[in-house]
């Protein structure tokens, strides 16, 4: 799963075209978006997942860290999903309630996804807009740096960082956000370059508005479409990255968990007759990814319609 750069470029090109610039692209886009079935399904799924993450706790009988001593030690026989003992999704290997762990894991996964995407979005937009706006040697240098950074096997650097500085949720956000702003900055730079010479920017400059203000007031708002699509598509990537990190055992500290960590634990015990340990977290993992994916895709198609 990855973001298709070609389509993003096409979208970016469209967003800065003069004929689109004039009227609001958003009104038409909304209409198109709501005609897209996949996007609607995505939106519904996302709402469900978010509700599950936020309200699930109120339905849980057990907390995410309590050990159910009645189940502990015979999870395969006693830990299956059951309404009676309050373990709607069964229990994990230690007899902890999988329902409340899934709820809590979904929260963390959503948070990692959204915060990671937000970091990537902010850094990428500012960096790209600055490079494009300043131009010249600075632009050359900044973009060369992006080229260089893009050639680094980032996952390995992330592993290194987690190993070196110890695991923490902050590190995870930073690491995951840090590695995905590069593509973003390229696209934003391209857009900034084409925006730079428009009348409204020239006008602002002529009246003496400082550079950073032009970037934040005039350029960035015009990039919103691309940024929004990009960010939505980044979220599932972030969640996937976190799951890989969790698989390596470098993820979040117990007793907190994430969907990735739950899946990885569930996959370990796949042969022991406790399939619910994989099935429930995987279900939420998959629908969360789908939701963001469909929404991002729909959003892009809505903003950049192709006449078919």
């Amino acid at each position: 799963m990855m973001i298709e750069q070609a389509k993003m470029q096409s979208l970016a090109d469209r967003m800065v075209r003069d004929d689109v610039k004039g009227r609001s692209p958003w009104a038409d886009a909304r209409k198109r978006f709501f005609r897209n079935k996949a996007a609607i399904v995505g939106l519904l799924l996302l709402v469900l997942v978010v509700l599950f993450a936020l309200l699930g706790e109120f339905f849980a009988v057990w907390s995410n860290e309590e050990l159910d001593f009645a189940v502990m030690g015979q999870v395969a026989q006693m830990g299956a999903p059951s309404i009676e003992n309050g373990h709607y999704f069964g229990t994990d290997d230690l007899g902890r309630d999988l329902f409340s762990r899934t709820v809590q894991g979904t929260q963390i996964s959503l948070m990692v996804g959204v915060v990671g995407a937000a970091i990537a979005m902010i850094v990428g937009t500012l960096y790209g807009a600055a490079a494009g706006f300043i131009g010249g040697r600075v632009d050359q240098f900044m973009m060369r740096l992006v080229d260089i950074l893009m050639s680094i096997p980032y996952m390995f650097v992330l592993i290194l960082m987690l190993v070196m500085f110890g695991r923490s949720i902050g590190m995870l956000f930073l690491g995951i956000g840090m590695i995905s702003w590069l593509e973003m900055s390229r696209i934003v730079r391209g857009q900034t370059l084409s925006l730079k010479n428009r009348e409204f920017i020239e006008a602002a400059r002529a009246t003496g508005v400082p550079g950073w203000k032009i970037i934040t007031r005039h350029i960035v708002p015009n990039l919103l479409g691309v940024v929004a699509v990009y960010a939505t598509l980044l979220v599932p990537l972030m969640i996937l990255t976190e799951s890989f990190i969790s698989f390596l055992g470098l993820g979040i500290q117990e007793p907190l968990t994430s969907l990735g960590a739950l899946i990885s634990e569930g996959a370990d015990t796949i042969t022991y007759g406790t399939i619910w340990q994989l099935a429930f977290p995987l279900f939420f993992f998959v629908i969360t990814l789908f939701a963001f994916f469909f929404i991002g895709d729909g959003l892009r198609d809505a903003l950049d319609p192709k006449d078919r």
Partner: protein, 534 residues
Amino acid sequence: MTKFFATTALVTVLSLPVYAAQPAEGEKLAEDQSLSFWILDAIKTLDPQLTESRTDSDMIRQLFEGLMTQDDTGAMVPGMAESHDISDDKLTYTFHLRDAKWSNGDPVTAGDFVYAWRRAADPETASEYAWFVELMNLENATAVVKGEASPEELGVTAIDDKTLEVKLSKPTPYFLKTLDHATTYPVPQKVIEEHGQQWTQPGNLVGNGAYVLKSHDLGVKATAVKNDQYYDAENTIIDEVNFITVNDQNIALTRYQAGEIDWFNLIPAGQYPKLKEEFPDEAISVPWACSYGYVFNLSEKGPEALKDLRVRQALSYAIDRDIIVDKVLQGGQKPAYYWTHWAMEGFEEPEIEMANWTQPERMEKARELLTEAGYGPDNPLKLKLMYNTSEDHKKIAIAVQQFWKAIGVELTLENYEWKVFVDKGNNQDFEVQRYAWCADYNEASTFLDWFRTDGDNNGMWSNEEYDQLLADAATEENPAENYKKMEQLLIGDMALAPVYHYAQPNMIKPDLRGVPLDNVMGDWYAKELYRVAE
């Protein structure tokens, strides 16, 4: 054995029959005599003096042989040395070597041992196990390791090709038990000088063990085949030993069940009872000489709260060891109320008060003690527990977090990678850490030495009486009394909260016979195994 040596001065031990695979009557040998043994990690080195891992040692033990080897109960029996004499002062050991050959046909001489032992101690070799030579108390060992004396001054000399003389700096009751450790295995000087670092590659490696290295595919598989030059080759039945690396216990179990592995010795926590029910002949749990506990940091860097004995006692009492053993691990482990593994040779179980209480009693005492120490709902005790990445450590830590929560302790779990964990532990940069110790030799002092004032004890617990008892034990006729008293001191002051004594839950193919299940050290020799036809 210890007692026997201690009372019989200058006696030549009669050479016992060689210990080898002996099928019982009526057993028919299988056609295929190959063995596939599971290992968790890649083999790091096959150089006996450089190795520091148990996995490596399991393979090295097939390729080399020391002065002594072990029988199926772990008792020391003659290996390369047919017999030995001990001087009156117990400081000089003289070993008489048997006629044996290296796998390239050269004779094994006393000089090979001298070379190997000097090599282990020599700073040039930079062996991480150089300390083992110090543990053996060889004369001048410490000075040689530090580089203050030349390796030639080490207390080991070849009187002639067949006679090796070893001088110790002080009487060491466990000395003979150290002689089956990889560090003490002989190595072929000629081969090492010819190939340098590459001497352990298949084709280059020359050993004196029952097997010779055929191939080594790092992280995948290493294969050793029968060595025809070995002195007891005619009684060796298994003709090929494969060491198969599988980095995940669950997958290893799958591969065992698929028939790719014949012996898998670490069933994942929680799976043993089910497997025992399903495969009663294959699932076998045996005691294994390691102990697990939570060490309290009593150094200056440690938290103030832990310096209060009542707090330490409360924490220790509140751990429900039965739950950890019966519901989390479920592999035949035993709850621990003292440090030394219960199955150590010659060790007698000490009387420990809390062992006889019921868990509700312990919980009640724990709450009382904690309240007495000034902690309660308004002023909860906050602690951090450090453990290294592992499914089992994680599970136990999570359970303990809940046990301690029940007495009002707010415990934060801190999971670190092994290297960070070790670094923090060695620098007293923790509050409570999980710790496990595995025996270097089959005697209680290997466990108790950890808490010696200059020992490795990360918690920095120190007690003069304890140190004295340990020092005295070395020359004592019956050190078991000392060990008992030491355990009482240790637990009386709750230097750590012992949690459980290890067991090794095995899966062994039913046609594989001769696995030394009574050897608590877990050491084994492929030459003693065989497969029967079904």
